[in-house]
């Protein structure tokens, strides 16, 4: 029987004594799936396990029913754009895609045709004959995507494909993922930014410290996000004084000095209102403010909240 899922069955991976992922049991259905977690949570390890670049210490993995130690079968069905921003030296975009297509057994003409199609799909035709070493970060991401999709796989794994891209390039890549999914591909995208995955994915798998801590509909995760207080770090002189004053606002639920004593971490349910109040306080008390950073853009805090609400991982 044809299996259309990516199945991790009680998979663990240890690097010596260091945990990669632990006891992961997952069944990823067709559609766009977001794999989300902070850096070091095990996203890349899961992708590498699913493609045989790593071998599980325990458990087993099947992609569309194919064990991952059978590259000859597996990689006709699977394309993987890794996070490694590295390329064979001296290659142009076109020669990079074409050369690796020949490893599939395609003849020259077929390899060139498929490469041209893939390059056109990622809008890199004008730069296809330039060396990859001279590409911008966004172009390198796109040529990796072209290489991963050129053989027309059924499953596409994308490890942090939006990392380091500017907003325009991100929007363009997201449009491309949608198009690929509309073409019938089974797309798994990893990101450490939940918002990105929210935009792209139908379902989400949340990872932390090598464990799967949440899995399912993106709506559920989003509703938790909306009731989540936002954290803002303010670095300034007299942080104790500022901490005392910010509590005057009703929306502030927590204000604590940061460890180095050089700032205040504020948790608020009304970020816009808090910013107005902060401006007022700075004018009134002449605080010398060095930085104001919405820490929720740092995903660690989002995950700390989400993972806390899951009741712990281990």
């Amino acid at each position: 029987m044809n299996d259309h899922r990516i199945v991790f069955d009680n998979v663990s991976k240890f690097y010596g004594e260091v945990l990669g992922v632990n006891r992961v049991t997952l069944s990823i259905e067709p559609g766009i799936t977001g794999l989300v977690g902070p850096n070091g949570s095990g996203k890349t390890t899961l992708f590498n396990l699913a493609t045989g670049l790593l071998r599980p210490s325990r458990g087993s993995i099947r992609v569309l029913g194919i064990p991952t130690d059978r590259p000859e079968e597996l990689f006709h069905k699977v394309g993987y754009a890794t996070q490694y921003d590295s390329f064979p030296r001296g290659m142009t975009g076109r020669s990079f895609v074409t050369s690796y297509l020949r490893l599939y057994g395609f003849g020259d003409a077929e390899a060139r045709r498929l490469a041209d199609e893939a390059i056109a799909r990622v809008d890199l035709e004008p730069a296809a004959d330039r060396r990859v070493a001279g590409y911008s970060k966004g172009m390198r991401q796109r040529i990796r995507l072209a290489q991963a999709t050129a053989h027309k796989p059924s499953v596409l794994l994308l490890d942090e494909p939006l990392n380091g891209l500017d907003p325009m390039a991100r929007a363009e890549m997201i449009r491309l993922f949608r198009q690929l999914a509309d073409d019938g591909l089974h797309v798994v995208v990893s990101s450490h930014i939940l918002h990105e995955v929210d935009v792209i994915s139908d379902t989400v798998v949340l990872l932390n410290n090598g464990y799967v801590v949440a899995e399912g509909d993106i709506q559920g995760v989003r509703s938790e996000m909306q009731s989540h207080p936002m954290q803002i770090l303010i670095r300034c002189d007299r942080p104790s004084r500022l901490a005392a004053r910010v509590f005057e606002a009703d929306s502030v639920v927590e204000a604590r000095l940061v460890e180095d004593g050089g700032g205040v971490m504020v948790a608020t349910r009304d970020a816009d209102g808090f910013y107005l109040q902060l401006n007022r306080l700075v004018l009134e008390e002449s605080f010398a403010v060095e930085t104001v950073i919405p820490v929720d853009e740092n995903v660690q805090s989002i995950y700390r909240y989400l993972i806390g609400s899951e009741g712990g991982a281990s």
Partner: protein
């Protein structure tokens, strides 16, 4: 489809994949400026033989003092045994074959090959084939050039007719074929050693130095240990073997019927070992 037809299709696919790997490797590492070191090393013996020829022609005076074909053949045997087999073939193979996989690990691009529907043993064979074809071609040309230059004094002694006659009817062609054959066997043997070393050692230089010392001092080893080396077989296969030297512990040279299959078998075993290593390799560039 019958089993035989399926088998033929799979064999045809693997052959295409092997050639694709070889082509990729040659284009990437064995052509152009990146391979300059190989060309310089291969040109070194040509330069030395040319220099020697120039010195001989300049300082020998009377053409009657120039050596005859037999003497030149003995000289070339010594030059080939010490310069080619012990040094040039060894170091070019070290330079090329250790880097076949190591360079891709260092530049973090090996995963592209691992993510193609290709058996990892086919990767080993394809890359080895690329190295063998590239190095074998360059070194064979260098061997032929050195041989032709080394025998040029025959033109001074007996005119170009004598030179051509020696080459065509006096055993010259047969000797060239013999030396090219030994060169190719050397590339095969050292290539397999260094391809495997590049997969087993993060820094293959230290094991390479140990192997170099072993091969260099081979003539001092007792007969049993001599057999565990590439140079022992290569020198025995030369059309004119080099003298072993005064300090050498003499051992019966292996017959070609033993030396050639022996070298082929050892090379094959090393490639099997390399393929086993590659099959069990994980991509963890951070640990490299």
């Amino acid at each position: 489809m019958s089993d035989a037809a399926t088998g033929a299709t799979v064999r045809s696919l693997r052959l295409r994949q092997t050639l694709a790997v070889a082509r990729l490797e040659i284009g990437r590492n064995l052509l152009g400026l990146r391979a300059l070191g190989i060309y310089i090393l291969a040109a070194l013996p040509i330069g030395l033989v040319l220099l020697y020829f120039w010195g001989r022609m300049t300082f020998s005076g009377d053409p009657g003092n120039l050596p005859a074909a037999g003497e030149l053949a003995r000289e070339f045997g010594t030059v080939f045994g010490n310069l080619f087999s012990r040094s040039v073939i060894f170091f070019i193979c070290l330079l090329v074959f250790t880097r076949l996989f190591r360079s891709e690990i260092q530049e973090r691009s090996l995963h592209y090959s691992f993510l193609a529907p290709i058996r990892r043993d086919v990767l080993v064979v394809g890359k080895f084939l690329a190295g063998f074809v590239a190095v074998g071609t360059v070194l064979s040309l260098a061997t032929v050039a050195c041989f032709l230059i080394h025998f040029l004094p025959l033109t001074a002694a007996s005119g170009s007719g004598g030179y051509v006659a020696f080459m065509l009817r006096g055993g010259g062609i047969a000797q060239i074929a013999g030396y090219v054959g030994v060169t190719l066997l050397g590339v095969l043997g050292y290539g397999a050693v260094f391809l495997a070393a590049g997969l087993f050692f993060r820094n293959p230089i230290l094991p390479a130095l140990a192997i170099f010392g072993w091969e260099l001092g081979n003539f001092l080893l007792p007969p049993l240990l001599k057999r565990i080396s590439v140079i022992h077989y290569l020198q025995a296969l030369q059309p004119v073997p080099p003298p072993e030297g005064m300090l050498a512990l003499l051992a019966d040279p292996p017959s070609p019927w033993l030396a050639i299959p022996g070298l082929l078998a050892v090379s094959f075993a090393l490639l099997v070992l390399a393929a086993w290593r590659l099959r069990h390799m994980e991509i963890a560039y951070g640990e490299e």
